[in-house]
Symmetry: C2
Subunit: 358 residues, 2 copies
């Protein structure tokens, strides 16, 4: 292979402040020398990078999240990579992996180094039979799909006949969650999204039975009309007023799954909590949060199930692709401004199957 | 037996309004004729009545609770009674029972009538080997103890080594909950109560390892100092600021159990929700409410366990007794003004073992 001499990287330049939209101004692109590898290491080329709202929490000054990027460090993020060189017995040149690659073209990884798991989650997963296009791996067998899996199946415990309400339904987690709810036998899947176009897209893609546009509809009324007996499961990615509207419309024994709180997590001071939390008592219901990284040991199990549903045609990819490492800050920022449908993947380099010189 | 001609009853006269303290003015005491019984019925004399904060919700105009007393109806409440006369094969004169007797001296019950279960919960439990004094049955093998059982064991899932925080620790549910937490192997039981006297009482009675006086201490600071690594379980009977203070001090994987919300449930409009609910995400924790009446089929199982712990000396009764049916509204009101320690039981008639003419 033609190993280039330089490695473009996005370093964190400044923390994102409350109320600020994440963007290029928070990062600095630099050209670093190509990394070299030692014993038990692998050299990886970044092909794709995923995006997740949680990544915003990596770069706030409060350091509340378990993953935290310091000023001058490479921005953290998981992706799909190609092994270019290996000094580790389990990996060879040409392997496709998923790992926390960071926002950079090339990275030296130590697959057995678990010392920083829980902070930067460098878990390296070899992808044994890579599905093409590789964006499928990123969107359906990666972190966001695993979040949907944990939210809908592990915490939400969706069962046949349930009415399932999903916020950010047109997002990376939500779009998979809608499909998983149906796979689990939900009687009705109601998605919430911002704007008529996204709602139409949700219905056209067959992700939801009904879609609510939070920008033009009264949420409490709309949820009540689509879930007249209440929602059995609500997957919350938003928090704030949307969570409160959902809490006004839960069924007895409901599971409210807190996957994220994109509407409030960058407000300072924090807004008030959901007034209708008392329905957790009246409706004998549960509200529970989770981190997908707590489930790392079970990711292979999730992947097997997701691959099976994919091969059976029950699960499809609906992600948007942003081109080039340069687009990373804009791609991540778009999660907060609503400028995309499905998950949002950054293509850093072409799939090696397309590169004859490999 | 000498069957009296009249039956004193407390009827609901007016609904309790937001911000109002529940008292005698909401009830009217009347003398009604003695009830007579038909086939499959039993005539029961009320010996003891329990009190529970939930009873306030029976008499609010909003009818949000699943048990609702109408104007002119006998106030609902569970108690311990003596069977005076039986036309039901499973009951005989002299039996001691637990049932929803209502605030009255005598009542005709239909043990097999489950039609109103879920509204008035008339479940009749025969007490096979009545422990003396009978207040023990009311306080340790009755509804409040079952609430503590569900809160600590079923929902809270307290396990050895847990740090357990309990609000209203000096109340009827809290005082049993503290003991159950220790029985489950909690490393530390921290109780919250109002006033230095109650806190001293909690420590003197050996119910808690530490006690916090919410009237004189800053809750957030005090909880943090007693639970430096966070609380694994918080049993909430209070809601409002106390719940929020607890949510600021939960451990990873915590269970926040909503047993009641005495601080807010009679406020209209409702106050804001707990701002720090977002810790449910950051700490991957769960907040869940329950109704003890949903567990009616399991009450006998709970009673067996509670009786065993009682016989082993691990569980003791710490309840206050109010004398006479006349005291019922004041006794119930005292739950909201904090004027008692332990549970609060109303003695309506003497234990029949003390009445030779039976």
């Amino acid at each position: 292979m033609n190993k280039p001499a330089e490695n473009k990287q996005w370093l964190l330049k400044q923390f994102v402040q409350a109320d600020e939209v994440l963007g290029e101004q928070h990062y600095e692109m630099v050209s670093s020398p190509m990394p070299t590898i030692g014993d038990q290491q692998i050299l990886v080329q970044t092909l794709l990078l995923g995006t997740s709202p949680a990544q915003r929490m990596y770069v706030t000054e409060q350091r509340t999240f378990h993953i935290a990027v310091e000023i001058g460090e490479v921005m953290s993020g998981r992706g799909v990579g190609l092994v270019l060189e290996s000094k580790h017995p389990d990996f060879k040149s040409g392997d496709i992996i998923q790992a926390t690659l960071g926002w950079q073209q090339y990275v030296a990884l130590t697959p057995d180094d678990k010392t920083d798991t829980g902070k930067n989650v460098r878990t390296v997963q070899k992808v044994d039979q890579p599905v093409r296009p590789l964006t499928t791996i990123m969107g359906l067998f990666g972190q966001l799909a695993f979040s949907a899996y944990v939210g809908i199946i592990e915490i939400g415990q969706v069962k046949p006949g349930d009415v399932v309400l999903i916020s950010s339904a047109a997002g990376g987690v939500g779009s998979v969650a809608c499909q998983l709810a149906r796979i689990q036998g939900a009687a009705k899947v109601v998605g919430i999204a911002g704007g008529k176009e996204k709602c139409q897209w949700l219905l056209e893609q067959g992700l939801c039975d009904a879609a609510i546009d939070y920008k033009s509809e009264d949420l409490v009324t709309a949820i009540a009309s689509h879930c007249p007996d209440g929602a059995d499961v609500y997957l919350d990615n938003v928090g704030g007023d949307m969570l409160d509207a959902a809490l006004q419309n839960i069924a007895v024994g409901a599971r409210v799954v807190i996957c994220g709180m994109i509407s409030t997590e960058y407000l300072n001071p924090r807004p008030d909590g959901p007034k209708h939390y008392f329905n957790l008592l009246y409706k004998r219901s549960r509200m529970e949060g989770f981190f997908v990284f707590d489930y790392v040991p079970r990711w292979p199990e999730f992947e097997i199930k997701l691959r099976q549903w994919y091969s059976e045609g029950k699960l499809k990819l609906v992600d948007d692709v942003f081109e080039g490492l340069e687009s990373a800050p804009i791609a991540l920022g778009s999660l907060f401004t609503g400028g995309h449908t499905g998950g949002c993947v950054i293509r850093v380099a072409e799939d090696p199957l397309e590169i004859p010189s490999l």
